[in-house]
Amino acid sequence: MNNLLTVTPSPHIKSGNSTTRIMLDVVLAMVPALIASVIIFGLRSLLLVAVCVVSCVVFEYLFRVVTKRANTISDLSAVVTGMLLAFNLPVTFPIWMAVLGCFVAIVIVKQLFGGIGQNFANPAITARIVLLVSFAGQMSNWLIPQKTAGGIELVSGATPLTLLAEGTAEGIPSYMDLFLGLRGGCLGETCVLALLIGGVYLVIRKVINPIIPVAFMGTVFLFSWALGADPLMQLLTGGVVLGAVFMATDYSTSPVTNWGKLIFGIGCGLLTVVIRQFGSYPEGVSFAILLMNILTPHIDTLTKTKPFGGVAK
């Protein structure tokens, strides 16, 4: 035989899975929420998303070029981070601040720590917190959609969560309106239906394990009920569904085993409710996820799998 044969160690077939395909699935899962945000908040939401995606990809590309490493933008993780960060911003957010947020997310949280798989916290969440602390006013400049005869009109006002925190009962939309997203809030967090559709898609495609979202949302429901608040309202307002489905499930910052994921989800839920009910911020999801991200390595150590037939020495 005159041609050379390839000799590699086993296995010699692999599943069709790839990092790019997983990230593509996440992008597809976010499309319903994107469509919903355009319908509810208008075309500026599309502009914000586009700016964030482009900035994230450019920042990642430039960083890899400057540090002379292999380029990783083809794995689409920067696109996912860009979309998620945009989903965490109000529609009135200034463009240059969004670009700054992308810089924080990609360069500081992700690339400086080693790139994909090595970040210690969710890049989009951390960037959102940085923006909230730096530009509190612009991050709270909400527009509330109102259904009028001509379609949807936007007026500035407070989100339902802020109203709840203040204690006013007026102006809080009905359950169905909350479910469909006809309320004030960040671009991606309002339409719960679209987010759930995306979540179901991700579970079917085996991209995420349903344990974290279910544990997160279940804990928020039960704990806020135990504290006397309206649990369904707590679930449908704020960024719980967005955080539970898309941000808490980020691979590198959540535990790998099922028990670990359960603890993580419950922890996120507890912290969210504590911050909402007893803290001064009306929204606790981002801080809860960040704190649990930091705890993840310890959760992993505590929840190692038990090898089949293993004998403890």
Binding site: L5, H12, I13, D75, G117, Y251, G310
Partner: protein, 623 residues
């Protein structure tokens, strides 16, 4: 598309049918309830719950939950509150029934499950109503709904009892679920026992229906002196000797070894050096065939009068584990605690893609397999035998089930088609439920595993006395012109075998000895056929994946796929940090290198290789 027991298309249509049925039933019962306006609101017949219960018992937990979600989404069309109530009732009911099934170890009766489900359904709805209406007084409604739940649950339970024998025969349910349900006591046992993970590899059993053909004798054979686990043999012939078929040409004084015999008659033309698949160097006897195939004079059926005679005969036959591991069978059949062994597990799983040689043995040599099983049972004094066959071979299962009808101590067990069902520890667990712990042998849990082809060979040897000199293999792969199953003499070079299969139709890029998951890539196609080969696969360019690995994204799919619940993601990290204590704690020594982790990794990392290097690191540090 996978060709597992239930295809994706079948599952989707099943869910669609069940969903439609559940909706129709709920409309039907709301129409009926209008005939009884005196009954309190919320009291329902629960007919659509029968569909959910059918799903839970006979299709699967995931499908049952999907049904609950679908029903809630449909109810949401009537308003958010309707949807929330439907979800709360359905989810709580499902969880309670699942909990009961696990608690009673799946011996709960349909009636009890049905009543518990109905009461839980109502309880869930009351709680949701309390939350939405913010009215504590709904709790006072509970006694009425409890009563209605008891009545309705009993009715649906009785309906289920009557219908179950017919429902379990529906094609929508999984075959295995149907088999595990007994009519009295409805024992859904094995359905929920902890399942070992694995991966659903594509089956690609293209040569399934290719009847075995005998290959003509090649011009020369090269027979290595080590084709088994254990000590290599010493050659007993020299250059120039004339040998006959079945003549012993290699043997060893060591216990863990097996003799090697000539597969053709002719003249020994050389004692060459060859590299074994494991990478070691050994001698090989090269024989030029005279094509007469004259059998050795000493060949005759062995006389067996005792267990010692039996084990001596097994050794003399040269039999090693024909499933691929190549462990000398006479050693395996003689453990120190033989008196405690009560089960012989026959491995007919054949979980690797492409390979169908064991399947052909099952279809063509059925009686030989059973004779071999009965011989082992008799001479070793083992009580019972379990033949494990994957459910992608239904004809083989049916054939064997019929053939063992009269044997009270042999039964056929259907295994789910999942890789690596054929691994020793996995098949013992899946057929008998016993766990072979770290450092133990199968005989320590009272089981011995034998490959189905090894049993067939044993029977043939006892009849004829001809030792192991030829092997049935599958030849397949994108580069082979005519894939088929054939029997070739041991030592036949690969290129000769592939020529018999029509030669290469495109340029081969990878030549595998064995299956694609655990097979070994060969560097040259003049390599000879060994005793423990089951397949030769020639992959073309399209099938060879030159994929470079990307960084680990810590998705944890490797952890979910590992049948032994190891954590390759953590092993890789510890290996990179040279953390020997960490590797010991992660039990990397238990890894059987099945390849499930590398198969599922989206970053295409070679985790099996890392595990092997980690094991080498541990060995180096334990000295």
């Amino acid at each position: 598309m996978r060709q597992n027991g239930t295809s994706a298309a079948k599952r989707v249509t099943t869910m669609g049918l069940l969903f439609a049925l559940a909706i129709v039933l709920s409309f039907f019962e709301s129409a009926i309830m209008t005939l009884f306006p005196m009954l309190p609101p919320g009291v329902k017949l629960g007919l659509s719950n029968v569909v959910t219960m059918y799903c839970l018992f006979l299709v699967g937990k995931g499908s049952a939950f999907t049904l609950v979600v679908l029903k809630s989404l449909f109810a949401m069309l009537r308003g958010f509150i309707s949807g929330a109530m439907s979800f709360a009732g359905g989810a709580v009911s499902l969880l309670v029934m699942l909990f009961l099934m696990v608690l009673t170890r799946h011996k709960a009766r349909y009636l009890a499950l049905s009543i518990a489900g109905a009461v839980a359904h109502n309880a869930g709805q009351i709680v949701m109503a309390r939350v939405i209406l913010k009215n504590r007084y709904v709790y006072y409604y509970f006694p009425i709904l409890l009563l209605s739940g008891l009545v309705v649950g009993s009715v649906t339970g009785m309906v289920l009892n009557v219908l179950m024998p017919y429902l379990s025969r529906l094609p929508t349910g999984s075959r295995e679920a149907a088999k595990s349900i007994k009519m009295e006591g409805n024992n859904v046992s094995k359905l929920f026992r902890k399942r070992l993970s694995g991966v659903a590899v594509p089956h690609r059993k293209n040569t399934k229906d290719c009847a075995t053909v005998m290959m003509p004798i090649p011009d020369r054979v090269v027979i290595p002196m080590v084709q088994h686990m254990g000590a290599p043999c010493e050659p007993l012939v020299k250059v120039g000797d004339i040998v006959k078929v079945g003549q012993k040409i290699g043997d060893s004084e060591q216990y863990v070894s097996a003799p090697i015999h000539a597969s053709v008659s002719g003249k020994v033309t050389g004692l060459v050096e060859i590299i074994t698949p494991a990478g070691a160097k050994t001698t090989a006897v090269e024989i030029e065939a005279d094509k007469t195939q004259e059998p050795d004079a000493s060949i005759c059926p062995p006389q067996i009068n005792s267990r010692e005679d039996f084990l001596k005969a097994v050794r003399a036959s040269g039999l090693v584990g024909l499933g691929g591991a190549g462990f000398p069978t006479h050693v395996k059949l003689n453990p120190k605690n033989l008196s405690e062994v009560d089960t012989l597990v026959i491995n007919g799983a054949e979980c690797e893609p492409y390979i169908t040689s064991d399947y052909r043995t099952m279809m063509e040599d059925t009686e030989d397999v059973l004779s071999g099983v009965r011989l082992v049972l008799k001479w070793l004094g083992i009580k019972q035998a379990c033949i494990g066959i994957e459910d992608n071979k239904p004809d083989a299962i049916a054939k064997f089930a019929k053939a063992v009808e009269k044997d009270s101590n042999i039964q056929v067990v259907t295994l789910k088609s999942k890789y690596p069902q054929g691994a020793e520890k996995v098949i013992i667990y899946e057929t008998t439920g016993r766990v072979v712990k770290e450092g133990m042998l199968p005989s320590d849990v009272g089981a011995i595993v034998m490959n189905i082809t090894s049993c067939a060979f044993l029977a043939k040897y006892m009849k004829t006395g001809m030792p192991l000199i030829s092997k049935r293999i599958t030849v397949d792969g994108g580069a082979v012109a005519e894939p088929k199953n054939l029997v070739a003499p041991i030592g036949t070079p690969f290129n000769h075998i592939i020529d018999f299969c029509g030669g290469y139709k495109t340029e081969p890029k990878k030549l595998l000895m064995g299956g694609p998951m655990m097979g070994i890539a060969v560097y040259d196609d003049s390599y000879p056929l060994l005793k423990n080969n089951n397949a030769i696969l020639a992959f073309d360019q399209k099938q060879v994946e030159n994929i470079f690995d990307t960084p680990c994204i810590r998705c944890g799919k490797c952890v979910a796929a590992c049948p032994f619940d190891l954590m390759p993601v953590a092993i890789e990290r510890s290996y990179k940090n040279n953390d020997v204590d960490g590797l010991k704690a992660l039990k990397v020594n238990l890894c059987m290198e099945c390849g499930c982790c590398s198969y599922v990794c989206p970053a295409k990392r070679n985790l099996v290789l890392t595990n092997r290097m980690a094991k080498a690191l541990l060995r180096k540090n334990s000295k």
